[in-house]
Point group: C2
């Protein structure tokens, strides 16, 4: 029985448990605290920033992978030096950890992306603003997620606090029709498989809803998204799941917004909606096992995030209202605004599927 070690015990590690059980994989989780989402599979509680802790955990595993992208590079490199299989490896993962590194590398690979620059000073930022109609997106290179570490600015002074701490990434504010996400998995021996392109709907910088496949998508956009994801997966030697968040710009361009090198919110719909879920595929990929079919099980799937809490009585309510809804609870205590679970419905009619998914999710309002 192969042993996959996961650093981090959040909902992504939790959702790896079902496919691990199915495939006879032993999942071991290094948790930050006793009460993590993936506590069922937690074999150790410890600090993922501590080399000795992570090394001790990793030595008993066949391969190490991640629930999040925050493991420091020195820890990752110590694992590799000790002969541990780390997937994705530190060289790949750096591009999901540092947005400036990501932009520079995607430029080298010729991947379409928004205009961008590295700004070290207010003057750098002011110059970019001048060249881009007076508005731009400023991002801290590290640590941002779910809208955190991102600001739309019209004046360099609005990013002064960040610039004091170091260089920032500045990006063109892309006028876009909508956001898309292209999920792909790649295994070390090179095999890669994409899932159908999805549309993601963000509210307040956080993913609220995913529609699979993206409705009314042209063949050209579909092809562009798959080519971008495939180029990045191979170009960066990604192993495991890679999520490429994309803008479908008003002018028709498909541009890379963000990368994640792990199962991703935009892929939760694959659990109930596709032959192979992103979590199963991730485990197969990091073990260098053959990848699974990514075909959809129905014409449409809609995934809605639930924030705050999923109390038991509300779960029963949702299941009663919508017998076809698949409810996923992350086993977290209640906290306003935090992703606590999601609901997926699949079927042949998009309006009906979306209605049922939203009605089930509304049970938690």
């Amino acid at each position: 029985m192969p042993i996959v070690g996961v650093i981090g015990a959040g909902q992504l590690a939790r959702m790896m448990i079902p496919p691990a059980v199915a495939l006879g994989i032993e999942l071991r989780v290094l948790a930050e605290a006793e009460d993590g989402s993936a506590r069922l599979a937690a074999t150790q509680v410890g600090d993922y920033r501590d080399v000795e802790t992570v090394l001790g955990f990793a030595r008993a595993c066949d391969v190490i992978t991640f629930d999040h992208e925050h493991v420091p590079q020195d820890v990752l490199r110590a694992l590799v030096d000790a002969g541990v299989a780390v997937r994705p490896g530190p060289d790949a993962l750096l591009h999901a950890q540092d947005k400036l590194t990501m932009r520079a590398r995607l430029a080298e690979l010729g991947i379409p992306q928004p205009d961008w620059t590295r700004a070290e000073t207010a003057a750098d930022l002011a110059s970019f603003l001048d060249d881009h109609g007076g508005r731009a997106v400023v991002k801290t290179p590290r640590g941002g997620y779910d809208g955190k570490g991102v600001r739309v600015v019209a004046d360099a002074a609005e990013a002064a606090d960040w610039l004091e701490a170091g260089p920032v990434l500045v990006e063109e504010l892309v006028p876009f029709q909508r956001e898309l996400a292209q999920l792909i998995a790649r295994r070390p021996s090179g095999e890669a498989r994409t899932w159908p392109l999805v549309e993601t709907v963000q509210r307040g910088g956080v993913c609220a809803e995913v529609i699979a496949p993206a409705p009314r998508v042209t063949d050209a956009v579909e092809r562009a998204a798959a080519e971008i994801a495939t180029s990045i997966a191979h170009g960066l030697s990604v192993t495991g799941v890679l999520a490429v968040e994309l803008f479908e710009a008003n002018d028709g361009r498909v541009l890379v917004n963000e990368l994640a090198m792990r199962p991703h919110n935009s892929g939760h719909v694959t659990i109930d909606g596709h032959t192979t879920s992103q979590f199963e595929q991730h485990l197969r990929a990091v073990l260098d096992w053959p990848l699974g079919d990514t075909a959809a099980l129905a014409e449409w799937g809609v995934m809605i995030n639930v924030f705050g809490a999923l109390p038991d009585d509300r779960i029963a309510l949702a299941l009663g209202h919508q017998p076809s809804a698949k409810v996923h609870a992350y086993g977290k205590g209640p906290r306003a605004g935090r992703k606590a679970g999601h609901v997926t419905v699949i079927g042949s009619d998009l309006d009906d599927v979306a209605y049922r998914a939203r009605a089930a999710a509304a049970s938690f309002d």
Copy 2:
């Protein structure tokens, strides 16, 4: 978070883990040994025949259910007396534990079944043989499964050893076209839902293959099977999943062969093939939560049992050969003839689905 306690740590308890994770249910398993299939969720190792052990385990759970039907009635009744919610309850479960009790009760309910008698002596058996063309099926009332405790006899002497130990069940040898299974779940408040009727293919008294739905089934047979299962579920106040194994007799009658009051091998196809799996439905039912939609996700599903072992390299082989196959390993050590896992494929063409499922399963030969 509701706590469901499962007595027994076999593959049925194991396959309850994924839906428990999804629905935010805490699963606690009372295992017989450290290395049970469901060891990931095992919170205690102990003897399920010991009242104090089971009571101690059960007191911390919201509801108790089962991986197998072997928990003695005195233990079950002690749980009920202590105020524990036991689902299915001892009165219902008795009919899955004792085949003579089952036959007598189904007769009271007017459920179609093979001719049968309770034989206490060789003379009783000989008389039944005389009335039924000289051949009959003899079953020990308790403890039989997968062909064990079942003999076809032409002479009362062939069951002499069993008759010495006590009364036996004697049944008409039904000339049948095929075997079917009707799965249903019922919750305490009375809601019940059937899954589509399936065909089961047995080899050596053991389920080898399940085809969902049963091909070329008439409306009358489909209706009869659903009515039988519904009548039994309500008539016996079953809570949780009930599997009704049926004969489709040569003369067109649909007759009850066996009952199981738990998720059942004939329902494994529901994990990958239906909106709500039997394992999720069982958890929902025993918690008295609303039941889920049981619609199939594709026109056809084929499930093949794998016996002996599922070594890692063979799992990878199967996944490589058939990217659409869903492989389920039960985490057991190798042992010839023992159910070690199963493979399911779903799709729109039965021949193609069956070919792919058998090809994937053949990777383990």
